[in-house]
Symmetry: C2
Subunit: 148 residues, 2 copies
DNA sequence: ATATCAAATTGTAATTAATACAATTTAATA
DNA sequence: TATTAAATTGTATTAATTACAATTTGATAT
């Protein structure tokens, strides 16, 4: 969550033409770190920007990704997800509530891969299971905690 | 690569009805550890079994997966990939030649996730970059090595 | 060996994420 | 303010996956 100028700066620094659509998408991703899909981003932004095209969302996300400003996750099966956080981290997908949680750990395996002779550009660490919240609820300890 | 009886045994052990289609799919996955897509499996099996339906391939893969006989990979963006190898291992996707290589290492991070309170059922470790073969070719050391 | 029947297969249609493309608009520069 | 390359829009298309009804078949009991 930052001032709009912050997103303008990010775009200018990458020599990306500054448009309202791109600012909106960046702002959305920065304030929704839940790894949304293109569809979710589109539907949300369309509320306050009815003329927005889904193609623009896809195009903008591609541009941002190619410039390393955002990253993508292939953790779910049918759609790509987007992440404003680019620092290497892991993810946990809860198969019950569906949320994708950031896990701030690094990967100690990169060096091993390099020893095989491959050049590693990206590291993706995903875990799937049941999150703490869902486990607690399943045990009857319903503390009426929100899952959104 | 095993005798057909082996795949029959696998199905029977899982209380899965034995059909020629399921045997064929299992055999294909066992002898093609390249993490094929449903489409690739379908096209290859259709050659010797022209009546095969793509729906059957999807259904069978789902059944096999639900019984833990095969696993799935979401490493590429547009399609699911299937793996006969269920023992926990990592993967490396070469962005040049497209092949997905098995990396036989384990994940030292599982315990950390458990400490967060989540229950971990699946571990997915993916790396992306340029594989050794492609790197060597790029350096002009073309030893005419096959990439298939 | 044969009849039975739930389950599997098939073929087609529907859904959905993503991409292609031509017309229009706009951000950046002069 | 005029210019222009790039971005946006809307629509059409592609491609992976799922839904579903009709048909076939594997396993069981007779
Ligand atoms: Mn994240
Ligand atoms: Mn594998
Ligand atoms: Zn959960
Ligand atoms: Zn390669």
């Amino acid at each position: 969550m930052s001032t709009l100028d912050h997103y303008v700066e990010i775009l200018k620094k990458g020599n990306i033409k500054v448009t309202q659509q791109r600012i909106d998408i960046l702002k959305y991703l920065d304030s929704h770190l839940s790894h949304p899909t293109a569809e979710e981003i589109f539907l949300s932004l369309k509320k306050t920007h009815p003329a927005l095209s889904k193609t623009t969302v896809y195009n903008s996300l591609d541009v941002l990704r190619k410039h390393g400003i955002i990253t993508t996750l292939t953790i779910t099966e049918n759609e790509l997800r987007y992440d404003f956080k680019t620092k290497m981290h892991h993810h946990f997908l809860c198969k019950k509530c569906g949320q994708i949680i950031d896990i701030d750990i690094s990967c100690p395996n990169i060096e091993k891969i390099s020893k095989f002779g491959h050049r590693v550009d990206e590291v993706h660490g995903y875990f799937k299971g049941i999150c703490k919240n869902c486990l607690d609820q399943g045990r009857g300890k319903n503390k009426s905690q929100s899952l959104t």
